[in-house]
Amino acid sequence: MAVQPASTEIATRTASIIQEFKALEGPLLPILHGVQGEFGYVPQEALRVIADELNLSRAEVHGVASFYHDYRKEPGGRHVLKVCQAEACQSMGSDATTARIKQLLGIDFHETAKDGSVTLEPVYCLGLCACSPSAMLDGEVIGRLDNEKIDEIVEAVRS
């Protein structure tokens, strides 16, 4: 598992992210993106700092952070693999490709491998619907998933 930074360190780093975005209109989402980019998840400790700085209640910040699928409550794996589950991918057999990925990685959706190598997430459309089924590994797009490409992905996340 990734080592979680101490709470004072989280507070300091969060404060500097807030300074970067505070002047924007509606700064909360950009701040949360910044925090997730920095830590790989949105730590509880960060929520308190954000609430104080933006003059919001902690409940309001928690409400926003928990509304959106993107923000993680705990650290993810070193790699994040998103596999599209939407209709166009289903029409091209994503059920079977997804099952194979889950089996090879030994994890289900929303889970992280025990060795911390990869977190598996469903995604509803990557806009690659004319080259289905598709996936995204750490922001890198992959179309027309087949066994060969799945093997490459599994190898990449394990190395």
Binding site: G26, H33, D70, A86, A88, L128, S134, V141
Partner: protein, 518 residues
């Protein structure tokens, strides 16, 4: 002349290996000591040919595709830099049937130019619409957009000019232009393609909207699933700002307009305009009740134009060529062109911009070429996860807002997913309910609770538990969701469910019967 090699960096092309092909070509150029310029263009949208590499040489532009890394050496050996023949040779890209049959107005430049070259943009008629708008009165710009017949391409089909007029007529110290680039519907990628392939046309459209309505600030809300589009738009905005297209004096005029790119956080419902506004404000993406209309009280309570990417990207050509030019394309009350996105289990998948009016059958069979699997087409879903499933019996439906409504469907953002005969329509109906449950913002009970109960009830039908009674229950539930939800998520989920039920009743028969039939 030094040959130019065009290799798309559109994420669809990249997903099929365009970056690797680009690297291989670069390496080969170096090793052979050949001088050539590599341009990373957008995609022309023929994804069955991607990665499609084009060479601009004395013979004009010559395309090759789909190019694999293993083809690269052979391409050089056969002299592709001069447009010579090779097994991947496609000839003049404009003459490829899938592209030649299109009417490209909004996507005129996409896949042709370097998306981040403002010079290339201007050479290909860019900024002409904005220059004309600057010389006009705001009310005249709004009138021209209204007269063009342009309707919201996000799905609702509301006349763009009417929205603009409301914002223009509402006095306020600050007004906003918000571009909805939260393109979450499966089978749609037109917004992504234009942002990656011709970002300046969207910037130009937003600037025109600003001048027309008196708004000085714009936001583009792009979904986080589109990192390439986010990066491209950010760079394009920066370039436009440096060149004075954006800023306190738009192209040296008295108008101020600037914009910012914002990134969503994975909530499908934020494609709904009022939840998008809440999200931009930094709140939970919960749907707002209308009225007040966003045009009167939108972002931060100020008058706001909120339009889809394609609506805004179609404005420059309307301003440049005139309302009549645009309006003369299309049929009925659906005027102009529509970028149809053909996706899923289809042989020739991609973006096909054409005037309204083609029939669904022409799109799926003639242009799409039938299924990729070679099996018969069973159903096509039109309009994303909230759109109806159409059987072959309805393939004579013309692509038009009203004609689709008459057949209990919608064209939505014009995405079409093709399914072959292996599709299980009960499973697709269940998925529609499940998706609604996952993505519901929670504001309306019919959507929040109904979608969960709908999934459970369809599961009971699949298990053969009181199927007749449960089918009646699903139908009744769909009725409640349709009329009891504030937005299209809860309100339109009944479309895929009911169309699957109506057109494919055999898939909803009790399990033992279904098993025996197979």
């Amino acid at each position: 002349m030094i040959p130019r090699i065009f290799i798309p960096d559109d994420s669809g092309a990249v997903a099929l290996g365009a970056d690797k092909v680009a690297k291989a070509i670069e390496k080969e150029l170096k090793e052979r000591g050949i001088e050539a310029k590599i341009v990373r263009n957008g995609s022309r949208g023929a994804y069955f040919l991607e990665p499609m590499v084009e060479v601009a040489c004395d013979a004009g532009r010559v395309a090759y595709g789909p190019v694999k890394v293993s083809d690269v050496k052979g391409l050089f050996d056969s002299g592709f830099l001069k447009g010579s023949h090779h097994k991947r040779w496609l000839g003049d890209p404009a003459k490829i049937p899938f592209l030649a049959k299109q009417t490209r107005l909004t996507f005129a430049r996409c896949g042709i130019i370097d998306p981040l070259s403002l010079d290339a943009y201007e050479r290909h008629s860019g900024l002409k619409g904005l220059r004309k708008a600057i010389a006009m009165q705001p009310a005249d710009i709004v009138k021209q957009v209204t007269d063009s017949g342009l309707r919201g391409r996000g799905g609702a089909g509301f006349p763009t000019g009417i929205k603009w007029k409301t914002v223009l007529d509402t006095a306020a110290d600050q007004k906003y232009i918000v571009c909805n680039a939260d393109e979450g519907d499966s089978a749609t990628f037109a917004d992504r393609m234009i942002m990656e392939g011709d970002p300046f046309v969207l910037i130009e459209g937003m600037a025109i909207a600003g001048i027309a309505t008196g708004a000085t600030k714009g936001y583009i809300y792009i979904r986080s699933e589109y990192p390439h589009a986010v990066a491209k738009m950010n760079r394009a905005v920066e370039i436009a700002r440096k060149a004075g297209v954006l800023g306190v004096k738009v192209l040296g005029s008295a108008h101020a307009f600037d914009m910012e790119v914002r990134v969503g956080a994975g909530a499908y419902v934020c494609g709904e305009e009022t939840s998008l506004l809440n999200s931009l404000e930094g709140k939970r993406g919960v749907v707002r009740a209308k009225p007040p209309l966003p045009a009167i009280q939108g972002l931060f309570g100020k008058p706001t134009v909120i339009n889809n990417v394609i609506s805004l990207a179609s404005v420059p050509i309307v301003m440049d060529k005139g309302a009549e030019y645009y309006r003369d394309f299309g049929m009925g009350r659906s005027r102009g062109t529509i970028p149809i996105q053909i996706a899923g289990n289809v042989k020739h998948g991609g973006l096909f911009e054409t005037a309204f009016g083609l029939t669904l059958g022409e799109i799926v069979d003639d242009i799409g070429g039938g299924t990729a699997s070679g099996r018969p087409v069973k159903a096509v879903q039109v309009g994303g996860p909230l759109g109806a499933y159409f059987p072959r019996g309805l393939f004579d439906t013309p692509f038009d807002y009203e004609e689709f409504a008459k057949r209990d469907g919608l064209i939505g953002h014009a995405g079409i997913t093709v399914f072959d005969d292996s599709a299980d329509m009960l499973k697709m109906a269940r998925f529609a309910m499940e998706f609604c449950a996952v993505e519901s913002c929670g504001k309306c009970t019919p959507c929040r609770v109904g979608a969960v109960r709908g999934t459970e009830t369809i599961d009971r039908i699949a298990a053969g538990i009181e199927p007749e009674k449960n089918l009646t229950l699903v139908t009744d539930l769909c009725n409640t969701m349709k009329f009891g939800s504030l937005c299209a998520l809860g309100g339109f989920t009944p479309y895929p469910v009911m169309s699957a039920l109506t057109h494919f009743p055999e898939d909803f028969k009790p399990a033992p019967v279904r098993a025996a039939a197979e």
